[in-house]
C-alpha cells in the first residue's frame, strides 16, 4: 500500500475533491434556490442592498405547484419516460444482436458493415432532420411519440453496438466453443451463455442510451407540437418562456424534477455502469 503523509492527503486529495464537488454541484444548489424563491425576490438588481442570492428567507413551493397545476408537466414526464424506455429497448435489442454479429461471426463485409454503422454516428442531426420530417410525414407519425421512438435509435444503436462489441470481445471464445462441443447450437450458445455474461455491458449501454434519449432536444422540438405530447426538455423550454417573461422559478423547478427519474435509474445501476464500462474497456 502506498503510504502518504496526512498533509499530503489534504492537499492532494481532500481539497481538490471538495473543489470538484462544489464546482459540479453549485449549479444544482442554485437551481434549487431559484425554484423555491418567491417571485418578488427573483428580480432584484445585483447591486441592491438586500440582495441575498444564496439563500432565501421565504421559501415557497408555489413554483412546483404551478408546474403541476398550470402546465402539462406530468404529461411531459411520462412522455419522456415512455419514449426513453422504448427507444432504449429497441436500441439495446439491435445493438446486442449487431454487436455479437460483428464481434464474433465471420462473414464477408464484416469490417465494412461495422465501419459504416459507426460512420452513421458521425452524421449531424442538423442535416437529417428536414429529410426525416418527410419520412415522418410519409409514415404519418407526426406529433406522436413514435416519431421519436423510431428516430432516437439512429444515434443510440451505433453507440450500443460499439460498446457491446467491445464487451463481447473480452469474453473468451473458449466459452462458446465449449458450449458448442457440448452440443449447443450457435444461436443457443449465444443466447444462453454469452448474453448473460454480458449483462453488465448491456446495463451500461442501456443507462447511457436512456440518458441520451432523455436529453435529446432537436428532434423532439421539430416532430412534436401538442403540449401534452412534448418531452420534458422541449416542454420546459417552450412553455416556461412565455414571450417577455422567463418563469425562472418554474423553469428551475421543472429542470430539477425532470432530472429525478434519470437520477433514480442511475442510483440503482451506477455500479453496473462502471463495471460494464470496465468490461468493454478491457476489450
Amino acid at each position: 500500500m502506498v503510504i502518504e503523509k496526512p498533509w499530503k492527503r489534504w492537499v492532494y486529495f481532500y481539497i481538490p475533491l471538495t473543489v470538484f464537488l462544489i464546482g459540479t454541484l453549485f449549479p444544482f444548489y442554485w437551481m434549487l434556490i431559484t425554484a423555491i424563491r418567491p417571485d418578488a425576490e427573483l428580480y432584484r438588481s445585483w447591486r441592491a442592498v438586500n440582495n441575498a442570492p444564496f439563500w432565501t428567507l421565504h421559501p415557497t413551493l408555489e413554483h412546483f405547484r404551478d408546474l403541476f397545476e398550470k402546465t402539462t408537466f406530468p404529461h411531459w414526464l411520462w412522455n419522456t419516460f415512455f419514449i426513453a424506455v422504448v427507444s432504449t429497448g429497441i436500441s439495446l435489442f439491435c445493438g446486442l444482436l449487431a454487436g455479437y454479429a460483428l464481434a464474433r461471426l465471420k462473414f464477408p463485409m464484416a469490417g465494412a458493415l461495422g465501419t459504416s454503422i459507426f460512420v452513421t454516428y458521425l452524421v449531424p442531426p442538423t442535416l437529417l432532420f428536414i429529410p426525416l420530417a418527410d419520412i415522418i410525414r410519409n409514415f404519418q407519425l407526426g406529433n406522436t411519440p413514435w416519431a421519436l421512438i423510431l428516430t432516437y435509435p439512429t444515434f443510440l444503436i451505433p453507440f450500443c453496438t460499439w460498446l457491446l462489441m467491445g464487451y463481447f470481445k473480452t469474453i473468451p471464445k473458449e466459452l462458446e466453443e465449449c458450449a458448442r462441443i457440448d452440443g449447443a447450437t450457435r444461436f443457443g450458445a449465444m443466447v444462453r451463455i454469452i448474453f448473460p455474461i454480458a449483462v453488465p455491458g448491456i446495463l451500461s449501454a442501456g443507462i447511457f442510451a436512456f440518458t441520451l434519449s432523455w436529453n435529446e432536444f432537436i428532434y423532439a422540438l421539430v416532430f412534436l407540437s401538442s403540449p401534452e405530447r412534448k418531452t420534458v426538455p422541449v416542454g420546459v423550454v417552450s412553455e416556461m418562456i412565455r414571450g417577455d417573461i422567463y418563469f425562472w422559478g418554474q423553469l428551475m423547478a421543472g429542470a430539477l424534477l425532470g432530472s429525478i427519474p434519470v437520477a433514480l435509474v442511475y442510483s440503482f445501476f451506477v455500479e453496473y455502469y462502471v463495471t460494464g464500462l470496465t468490461g468493454s474497456v478491457k476489450g
Binding site: 418527410d134 410525414r137 422540438l221 418562456i241 412565455r242 414571450g243 417577455d244 417573461i245
Partner: protein, 434 residues
C-alpha cells in the same frame, strides 16, 4: 369584462355596419363532423390575450361545428416550425406570420384575397405596412391581424431630475441625455443581439433616419452610403457613452427585466413593460417603494438628419396550402378578424397590440386608457418596411433572418470601424440580393 367596457363595446358596434357572418346568423354550417382546425400563434407578451384566445377557440368551435385548437409557441420557434411544416406538408392549418414572412413563404400559403377584401371594407382599410407585408404580386397571401407598435418607455422622474422635461427629439439629444444618466448609473438599454423584435425595431430606423437604406427603388443594394456610415458612427459613440453595454447579449426579454428591475432609464419596447408594471403593481416598485408604473412614460423614436421613421412589427395569419380544410380556415379567419372577436381581444390587449386596420384608432379604449399609453394609438403611421427602398421581398426577409443590419451596428459597437462594418454589411447584402 367590466360593465363599462361592455357598454362601450356595444355602442361602438352599433355605430358600425351590421355584423356580417356567422355570429348574426347563429347557425353552424355543415362541416364534416370531427373537422379540426389547428392555429399556431406566438406566445403573446400579454398573457391575458392568450387566455382570451383559448376562450374564443371554444366559441369558434361551437359556431363552426369543428374543433378549433390554438397552439402557442415562442416567437423565435415560429420560423423553424413553419419550415418543417411546409417541407413535410403537414402541420397547423393557420400559422401566425410576422413581418414580411408571407413573401418568404409565398409558395406554401393560400391566396386569401377574398377575405382580405372583405376585412378592408369592413374596417376602414389596412395600414400601408400591413398591406405591403401580406400582399405578394397583387394577391394577399395572409390576412393582416394586428401591429405591435414600439415606443421608448422611460423613467420620467430620472429625466426630470436632470432637467429634461420632454423626451429628446433627436438622436444627438438622446445621446447627450443618456450620457448624463449613465454617469448616474442609469444607462439607456438597447439590445443588439439576434432578437426577432427589439433589435430590428431599433436598427432599421436608425439606419433610415440617417439616410441609409438596404436597396434602392430598383432593388439594387445601396447600403454602402454616407448615411449608413454616419448611423454606425453614432451608434458606436452612443453605445459607449449612454448604453448598458451588456445589451449585446440581450434577447427580447432582457430589456423588460432590466427596466422593471430599475437598471436602465429607457428602452425601446412594445407596451408590455408598462402593462407588466401595471399588472404587478404590488411587486414591482421603484427605489422609493412606489409602484413603478406611475413613473413610466412613452415617447417616439428620435429623429435623425434624414427623417424620423420607426419600425413596428406587423402580424398576420396565413392559411397553409397543405391544409385539408381551406374553407373552414377562411370562415374561421373571417370570424376571428371580425369586429366582435377581434374587438374583445383588442380590449384585453390594453393597447399592446393595435389593429391592422385604421378603424381601431377610434375605439373607445383609447379614451379610457392610461395617459402614458395614448401614444400607441397612432404609432403605426410612420412605419417603413424592411427592404426599403425596394419591396419587402423574400430577400429582405433573408437579410432580416440573418440579422445583417443588426450585426452591422453590433460590429461597429464592438470596436470595428464604421466603414468596415458598413462594407461587411454591403458584402453580405450583395450575396443575398445578387
Amino acid at each position: 369584462m367590466t360593465m363599462r367596457s361592455g357598454i362601450t363595446r356595444r355602442r361602438f358596434l352599433q355605430g358600425s355596419s351590421a355584423m356580417v357572418g356567422l355570429t348574426a346568423a347563429g347557425r353552424a354550417p355543415a362541416f364534416a363532423q370531427g373537422s379540426k382546425l389547428h392555429v399556431l400563434r406566438w406566445v403573446d407578451f400579454i398573457p391575458a390575450c392568450d387566455v382570451e384566445l383559448k376562450k374564443q377557440a371554444g366559441e369558434a368551435s361551437k359556431l363552426l361545428g369543428a374543433d378549433v385548437q390554438f397552439e402557442f409557441i415562442n416567437a423565435n420557434d415560429l420560423q423553424p416550425r413553419i419550415t418543417a411544416s411546409i417541407q413535410s406538408q403537414s402541420g397547423p392549418d393557420i400559422i401566425h406570420m410576422l413581418h414580411n414572412w408571407p413573401h418568404l413563404y409565398e409558395n406554401g400559403l393560400l391566396d386569401v384575397s377574398d377575405v382580405a377584401a372583405w376585412q378592408a371594407k369592413d374596417q376602414g382599410g389596412f395600414y400601408a405596412q400591413s398591406e405591403t407585408y401580406t400582399k405578394v404580386g397583387g394577391r394577399f397571401m395572409a390576412l393582416p391581424h394586428s401591429i405591435v407598435p414600439g415606443l421608448i418607455a422611460y423613467r420620467k422622474s430620472w429625466f426630470d431630475e436632470i432637467g429634461v422635461t420632454t423626451f429628446p427629439k433627436t438622436y444627438d439629444e438622446l445621446r447627450a441625455v443618456g450620457t448624463k444618466l449613465k454617469k448616474k448609473g442609469h444607462p439607456y438599454g438597447q439590445t443588439l443581439g439576434h432578437t426577432f423584435g427589439d433589435a430590428p425595431a431599433w436598427a432599421y430606423p436608425l439606419m433610415w433616419n440617417f439616410g441609409g437604406m438596404e436597396t434602392d427603388r430598383g432593388g439594387k443594394t445601396a447600403i454602402d452610403s454616407k448615411g449608413s456610415v454616419e448611423a454606425v458612427k453614432f451608434m458606436t459613440a452612443f453605445w459607449k457613452d449612454a448604453c448598458d453595454e451588456g445589451g449585446l447579449a440581450w434577447d427580447d426579454t432582457n430589456n423588460n427585466r432590466a427596466f422593471l428591475g430599475g437598471e436602465i432609464c429607457a428602452t425601446l419596447n412594445g407596451a408590455s413593460i408598462y402593462i407588466a408594471a401595471k399588472r404587478g403593481q404590488e411587486k414591482i416598485k421603484d427605489e422609493r417603494g412606489e409602484p413603478l408604473v406611475r413613473d413610466i412614460q412613452h415617447a417616439r423614436l428620435p429623429a435623425g438628419p434624414a427623417g424620423s421613421w420607426s419600425y413596428h412589427t406587423a402580424f398576420a395569419h396565413g392559411v397553409m396550402k397543405y391544409t385539408k380544410n381551406p374553407k373552414l380556415a377562411k370562415d374561421f379567419l373571417k370570424w376571428f378578424h371580425g369586429q366582435d372577436a377581434f374587438g374583445r381581444w383588442f380590449e384585453v390587449a390594453e393597447g399592446f397590440s393595435v389593429g391592422a386596420t385604421k378603424r381601431w384608432e377610434r375605439h373607445p379604449l383609447w379614451n379610457t386608457i392610461d395617459e402614458p399609453m395614448k401614444g400607441f394609438r397612432t404609432a403605426p403611421d410612420n412605419s417603413r418596411t424592411m427592404g426599403f427602398a425596394g419591396p419587402p421581398s423574400a430577400k429582405a426577409t433573408e437579410v432580416y433572418s440573418k440579422y445583417v443590419i443588426v450585426d452591422m451596428f453590433a460590429k461597429g459597437v464592438q470596436g470595428g470601424s464604421p466603414d468596415e462594418a458598413v462594407k461587411w454589411a454591403a458584402a453580405e447584402l450583395k450575396k443575398i440580393y445578387g
